[in-house]
């Protein structure tokens, strides 16, 4: 299945794109193994058709969307975003998708909804059973973060549907946060009142905060976040505040202590 037509986006960077091969062979998708090469080897076992996403919780019109519906929900855009992994490497990836805000609008969030929880696919028959993280993998955003125009619900990569190892058939892309915030292979999106307990936060709360905004000044307890290696390059480059998206997103965190809310 191919993607419908899509348009370029003014939010795209003009930086050199990371080659497709690197984007599809160097992945963190722990359900398929914890080595970078594991997802490319094992994710083929996942069947992504049919696929539905339940959008539920504190919503006026909760409902379930099929992938075909998501593809038609709003005009698709190509967004070429920087991706910064918490491990200290980065890529430039051309995603295709729609703003998450467009989906959330469909279900009419209630006033009591403060956060959005993302639950991802977990099938122990084909995925890791060892409790490396608490499965299913859960991520979360504050509602205003989820509704931000940069927050993308990605359905494609490099002009084609998402490869399984990149989170097919539908994943989140939040470019100003460390990569693990962008949950893959999403099955449910819940509007909730309380801050969701995310998988990495449960695994090591002192290392992976709820916000996990890219921030060169706040070191991971075990390594510095001041620099990063762009995949394909040898020398490291300085990491940018909010991964270079500060102009658009810094307002979301006005008055917040980003050292305490890491």
């Amino acid at each position: 299945s191919r993607l419908p037509a899509y348009a370029p986006s003014p939010f795209s960077t003009s930086e050199e794109k990371t080659p497709l091969k690197a984007v599809t062979t160097y992945n963190n998708f722990y359900e398929f193994g914890t080595d970078k090469s594991d997802p490319a080897e094992n994710a083929g076992k996942m069947s992504v058709q049919p696929w539905t996403v339940r959008v539920e919780g504190l919503a006026g019109k909760p409902r379930t969307f099929g992938i075909e519906e998501l593809l038609q929900l709003a005009p698709l855009e190509e967004r070429i975003y920087r991706l910064r992994c918490v491990e200290g490497w980065s890529m430039v990836i051309p995603w295709v998708g729609l703003p998450l805000a467009a989906l959330l609008k469909q279900v009419e969030p209630l006033g009591s909804a403060k956060y959005v929880e993302f639950v991802t696919h977990y099938d122990p028959a084909i995925m890791l059973r060892r409790p490396v993280l608490s499965w299913p993998y859960v991520e979360g955003l504050r509602l205003d973060e989820a509704q931000h125009p940069l927050t993308l619900l990605a359905l494609g990569l490099y002009g084609d549907v998402l490869p399984n190892q990149n989170g097919a058939p539908v994943r989140l892309v939040v470019p100003w946060k460390y990569g693990f915030k962008s949950a893959k292979s999403i099955v449910a999106i819940r509007l909730v009142e309380k801050q969701p307990r995310t998988s990495w936060n449960r695994a090591a709360a002192d290392e992976y905060g709820f916000y996990s905004n890219v921030n060169p000044e706040v070191a991971h307890p075990r390594w510095s976040q001041a620099t990063e290696r762009r995949i394909g390059e040898l020398r490291k480059r300085p990491t940018l505040m909010f991964n270079g998206y500060g102009e658009q997103v810094a307002g979301l965190y006005q008055g917040m202590d980003l050292k305490a809310n890491y």
């Binding site: 722990y30 490396v132 995949i231």
Partner: protein, 235 residues
């Protein structure tokens, strides 16, 4: 090295291969220890080390340091379990290769990872416990590498030499801790190294305990008279 072993003198036996065979085995082990380096070099040239070749080299050199440390520590138990005393003749080379891989690991970090950014390197060593621990292990390996020759054994004397080289136990522990602390969530691999190390050190502790008991038992007949046991081997 053979001169410092206190247990049994190395007697040529049916199980000891002829000198030429031992030389051949040594050469083979030498080449095997170098093989991963050749693979990395060729992989670098051919760009087959994956999307992040620096990471691949860092991990491979670290893994081989740890593996060679454990293999070095396996020589004594293997020798004891199999009676193949000639294995001891491989130990110095294995230990030196562990050090060489440790140096390669550190050099990769200094050069390809940090590009000699000394401020960042100093901050890493001081502030990041897993790097502190790894660095400490490397520093502790240095005196062992420097005293790995016969002259040093003679100068230090067998006992002192052996006492110094027992720091290999600490180095291996630091190496496993370094690996454990670096992993994000999946500790399976470091746990395997930890188990192997625990077995290798556990065997030594157990044999030491047996030896203590043996000496104690030998001392019991005299001690029975006044009910006191004189400890010969410290616990």
């Amino acid at each position: 090295m053979a001169s410092i072993e206190r247990e049994k003198p190395l007697k040529p036996s049916l199980r000891t291969p002829p000198a030429a065979a031992i030389t051949a085995i040594k050469l083979l082990v030498f080449l095997l220890c170098l093989l991963p380096a050749l693979q990395l070099l060729l992989g670098w040239q051919a760009d087959t080390l994956g999307a992040n070749p620096v990471e691949t080299i860092t991990h491979a050199s670290g893994t081989w340091t740890l593996r060679l440390l454990l293999i070095t520590l396996a020589v004594t138990p293997l020798r004891r379990l199999t009676g193949l005393h000639w294995l001891l003749r491989l130990r110095r080379m294995l230990g030196l290769f562990a050090f060489a891989w440790g140096l390669a690991h550190f050099a990769t970090y200094l050069w390809l990872d940090q590009f000699f950014d000394w401020a960042a390197i100093a901050a890493d060593i001081l502030k990041r416990p897993f790097i502190t621990v790894g660095f400490a292990a490397l520093v502790l390996m240095l005196p062992l590498a420097l005293t790995s020759n016969r002259l040093a054994v003679r100068r230090l004397g067998g006992r002192r030499w052996q006492a110094l080289h027992r720091s290999t136990y600490a180095i291996a522990i630091l190496g496993v801790v370094h690996f454990w602390w670096l992993v994000k969530a999946d500790v399976l691999e470091p746990a395997i190294y930890a188990l192997v190390l625990a077995a290798l050190l556990g065997m030594r502790a157990w044999w030491r305990e047996l030896e203590r008991r043996r000496q104690l038992a030998a001392a019991v007949p005299q001690a029975r008279g006044n009910g006191r046991v004189v400890r010969i081997v410290p616990k």
